[in-house]
Subunit: 302 residues, 2 copies
DNA sequence: TTTTCATGATACCTTTTATGCATCAGAAAC
DNA sequence: GTTTCTGATGCATAAAAGGTATCATGAAAA
């Protein structure tokens, strides 16, 4: 015969009462049933857990150890059952959220904060990644929600615009354009550009380069940085100029001048994107949350 | 029906195999028995743990959580059973050891180190206390073994001499006796003495004062310190002289001069003392250990 | 297509385990 | 003494777990 939770439950009540009859009443079983269960437990352990006499019952040293361990076990079982139930109804769980530099710089912090308030049991696990990487991770079920540079129109995904950014030109202090109130794209034709990694940033440049072509030039890339912070750093030390978004610029530490671009009318969108089917419950909750929050605060914050 | 360890064991094997038939073979039960056990588990939890199809079985998110928790529970049960068994045969446990300043200054560290080598599963819990306090704690079953200033001849206790100390006189550097090679007790009759707390140190002064009386004087106490370190401190800053043991003097930081006392022949004994009956297993092991170690290194080390 | 094979679920019966009732044996209280 | 606690035991019953045979379904083979 094997030890089961029943033995531990009975044992703990008896260890509390130190009286077979009273413990059996608390357990709503007969006294002989309790006596035999404890006997079986002791036989299986090959350990005497209680010193019995007609006058008193008390724990042995081994019994005390078993009480501590048994209590921990029961607590563990209860906690496990509770967590499992909560996960199954979507009250608890983990949500793997991907984000780009553009998303984390603007809408994401507030969005995640509000989501956490609504679903405090769901742990958000953020993963930084460029758009292409996030889409692949979504396909591989490595990610539940991505925040990417849109628009995303691949099949198998649904998406929702969460943020719009107007691109701005960023030049170092002292640059010959720095005193201008704004620039037109054509003004930048002869400038040196600092650039993000070409492949990884494809989604951003897919948006930007057509505008440059329309203005009659191909940006001259002189430096490639690893990420947006790196780009701003290279610009601030005079390696060239760049085009990014206002929210990214807010992260700059100084030595930079932002210039509106007069002849770009459309905006760069950041979208939340998720698989179109077989959503895990936390993901479904996040999608529902996104759609609800549309009624309150819509799209980009600037 | 309630969840038992059986359900968890079966579940974990199935979560590993993800195949009812193979899992049932690993469990040495029939496939229908496993199917029903898992059904009962899911019904009791009100949670679907496995996605089943004719082609594959896989864990749900909730199932993954239950697997982690269940594994922890089983590990906890196993560890608890193991510890309980080891305690019951005396392989593990706790030993509450009391000690005086005299004991800790000499024999105790080596003794405990050797005991730990022989019984690595037994945790020694040291409790500092003067002789009287330790004897009371032994009576109250707050302590298993005491190391006290002997001799102890109260009924209900057994004891064994573990250390003998020859008292020495300790004077500050520059004291008028400091240049002597040794002193006789009578030489100290007019000195100021620094003293331990009278009541707590009764067992030590019961040993010392009769010698003084025989030499024709009652020590003049000018300062009472809280413990032996305090006594040495007060002596070193010139408040008076004291009589302690050589092993205690080894703890002094400087500014002190030890002087043998020529006319004290007997020694101060430190004894291990324990209750004479109903010993806990760790205590019994320690007593056995003490009696064995007598054959190797006997009594005091100096 | 049809057949075969492997899967998990069910039905039915047997075995094992747990429980309750009645009772015993020993110590303490009266 | 007698009563009244205590925990333990014997026996019958109920509940749980297990085994065998079989079903339904979908994938792979013929």
């Amino acid at each position: 015969m094997k030890i089961g939770l029943r033995h531990i439950r009975y044992f703990l009540v008896l260890a509390e009462d130190l009286n077979f009859r009273r413990a059996s009443e608390h357990l709503h079983i007969s006294q002989p049933a309790l006596t035999r269960t404890i006997q079986h437990l002791e036989a299986e352990l090959q350990v005497t857990l209680f010193d019995r006499s007609q006058n008193f019952v008390r724990l042995t040293d081994a019994g005390r150890a078993f009480r501590e361990g048994g209590q921990r076990v029961l607590n563990g079982v209860e906690a496990t059952i509770d967590l499992t139930r909560r996960i199954s109804i979507g009250e608890a769980g983990a949500l793997r959220v991907g984000y780009t530099d553009f998303a984390i710089a603007d809408c994401l912090p507030e969005l995640l904060k509000q989501f956490h308030q609504r679903h405090p049991g769901i742990t958000v696990r953020p993963h930084h990644g460029v758009t292409a990487a996030q889409l692949q991770q979504l396909r591989d079920d490595k990610l539940d929600i991505g925040f990417v540079t849109g628009p995303v129109r691949q099949s198998g995904f649904r998406s929702r615009v969460v943020q719009t950014d107007r691109p701005i030109c960023i030049v170092p202090e002292g640059h010959h354009l720095a005193s201008r109130a704004s620039v037109a794209l054509a003004d930048l034709a002869d400038e040196d550009f600092v650039h993000g990694p070409t492949e990884a940033w494809a989604h951003f440049y897919d948006y930007l380069f057509p505008h440059c072509r329309k203005a009659g030039f191909q940006p001259r890339i002189v430096q490639e940085a690893f990420n947006s912070v790196g780009i701003l750093g290279l610009v601030s030390c005079g390696m060239g100029i760049t085009i990014l978004t206002e929210s990214i610029y807010d992260f700059a530490t100084g030595g930079l001048v932002p210039l509106p671009i007069s002849d770009i009318d459309d905006v760069m969108v950041t979208e939340a994107v998720w698989a179109s089917e077989n959503l895990r419950l936390p993901t479904q909750h996040f999608v529902d949350f996104l759609e609800q929050s549309d009624s309150h605060r819509l799209q980009g914050t600037r």
